[in-house]
């Protein structure tokens, strides 16, 4: 159990059986009253945020979190299959849990899966991946007054916005944390 005075940005806590990360934290103490810790916390499973104030005397649960190194194996319907490199145990994670990150997985990619009470809740992958643009309209110079980016797709159907000078066949770098275009690696 944590004491309220342990609270800090980045701390992982458990409330009502759900794991949360403290994203903001402010100390309040009315002159003669008890100390209060006003936090903004983010549910690590649903990603929703909320405000929560803890009193000095409050005790806060520690979530049972674990992470394991795995490699991505293959897609099986709506589930993505990962294998633990030491035990060869297989884990299936539903595409809903992975969100857009599922589009950035490549075969045999080494990832870090976060488990809460044995359930996978998040995945940490390499920050950048390279993908070929399979679909995009040619960008017309002079169009910059209204648009500086245009839609584009990669092989698995993921859509993102890219600068006008990117063409079909170009290889680009994507930031897996934001899902956004970073730069062009090579022309197609």
């Amino acid at each position: 159990m944590y004491s309220a005075s342990d609270l800090r940005k980045g701390l992982k806590i458990e409330l009502d059986g759900q794991p949360y990360e403290v994203t903001e934290f402010n100390f309040f103490k009315p002159g003669k009253g008890q100390a209060m810790y006003k936090c903004r916390i983010k549910n690590m499973i649903t990603q929703s945020t909320m405000e929560k104030t803890f009193r000095e005397v409050d005790k806060i649960g520690e979530p049972n979190l674990d992470h394991r190194n795995m490699h991505f194996s293959y897609v099986d319907g709506e589930n993505y299959v990962f294998s633990d490199q030491t035990t060869y145990e297989e884990f299936r994670i539903h595409q809903q849990t992975l969100g857009d990150k599922r589009f950035f997985l490549v075969e045999d990619m080494a990832v870090d899966i976060l488990f809460h009470n044995g359930n996978p809740i998040d995945i940490q992958m390499p920050f950048f991946i390279e993908k070929i643009i399979t679909d995009t309209e040619p960008g017309v110079r002079g169009d910059t007054a209204t648009n500086v980016t245009k839609p584009a797709k990669i092989d698995n159907g993921y859509e993102l916005r890219v600068p006008l000078f990117i063409n079909q066949g170009d290889t680009i770098r994507i930031d897996t944390r934001t899902g956004a275009y970073v730069d062009r690696v090579s022309k197609g």
């Binding site: 003669k32 009253g33 009193r55």
Partner: protein, 297 residues
């Protein structure tokens, strides 16, 4: 916001203006020990241990002893220390300005506060509007007075002077009442519930204490009392604090017997106040965090 050096210079200008005000009003500047054997017993204030004693959390007890010895108008500005208080507006070492008047009450102290802050603001800023980060605060106009009962009924939906709930009081003060207070002018929250009296005397009905707090820009700046001068009542309150602290596993400080003894000698009435000078300087500098106006460690 002024440059770091200019902010430190502002501290000096502030101390100078404060001293000028009090010397002109026939107060003398007391310096009482910073290292003490018996810090004031308060439920939620922890003292920093120092060798065989503690660093003071406030000069209050020593200054009130001077009142008992016949001092009539005294002030002090200096460092105070509180353990575990660190945040945007808290620092474990901070500067308190305290002043006391014998034969006075919290209304006299309020008049002092208005005159002092207006004068200091004029000296530092050339006017009485503070360029606080949350918006301008006009010290020159009318100061808004609200009782704790009214403020809580209005913004928290209950009356802590009728039904006391310590946890709910502290929480609602921080979550509901303080954020709702007007920011453009000084706000005086007055007549706290008896259980939150601290060292203030109670009104005859016993339900509220003659205590007020000043808020500027939504930030708590000062805490003033019609001082409790009855040594038996003071001893009872200290004992209750000691029991509450012990129950929560907090260190219980020795009773300041010299202080309790001094209360027997008088005066019958006194008014006093503790004002967070760093916070006032923060407002004058338009800073966002206390650390921005504190001397660098």
């Amino acid at each position: 916001m002024p440059t770091p050096l200019r902010r430190l210079r502002l501290r000096s200008d502030c101390f100078r203006a404060v001293r000028a005000f009090f010397y002109a009003a026939d107060f003398w500047e007391t310096d009482t020990p910073v290292k003490v054997a018996a810090p004031a017993l308060e439920e939620h204030i922890d003292a920093v241990p120092a060798d065989d004693g503690f660093l003071r959390t406030s000069p209050e007890l020593h200054m009130k002893r001077l009142l008992s010895e016949g001092a009539e108008r005294i002030f002090q500005l200096g460092p105070c220390f509180r353990r575990g208080e660190r945040g945007a507006f808290h620092h474990p070492e901070f500067t308190l300005l305290e002043w006391y008047r014998a034969h006075a009450d919290y209304e006299t102290i309020l008049a002092d506060t208005q005159a002092l802050l207006r004068q200091v603001a004029r000296a530092l800023l050339g006017g009485t509007t503070l360029p606080a980060a949350t918006g301008p605060v006009d010290l020159g106009g009318e100061w808004r007075r609200l009782t704790v009962a009214d403020a809580f009924r209005r913004w928290a939906g209950w009356d802590p002077t009728a039904n006391w709930d310590a946890d709910r009081f502290d929480l609602d003060l921080v979550e509901k009442v303080e954020p709702a207070l007007p920011r453009d002018r000084p706000v005086i929250l007055m007549d706290y519930p008896a259980p939150a009296a601290a060292l203030a005397r109670l009104r005859p009905d016993g339900r509220t204490a003659e205590r007020w707090e000043l808020y500027l820009g939504g930030l708590e700046i000062a805490n003033a009392y019609s001082e409790l001068t009855d040594p038996d009542e003071q001893r009872r309150r200290f004992a209750a604090c000691a029991a509450a602290r012990a129950a929560r596993g907090k260190p219980v400080y020795p009773l300041d017997e010299d202080f309790l003894e001094a209360l027997r000698r008088g005066p019958a009435t006194a008014g006093g106040i503790a004002l967070g000078l760093d916070r006032f300087i923060l407002l004058c500098a338009g800073a966002e965090r206390l650390a921005d106006v504190l001397p660098p460690p």
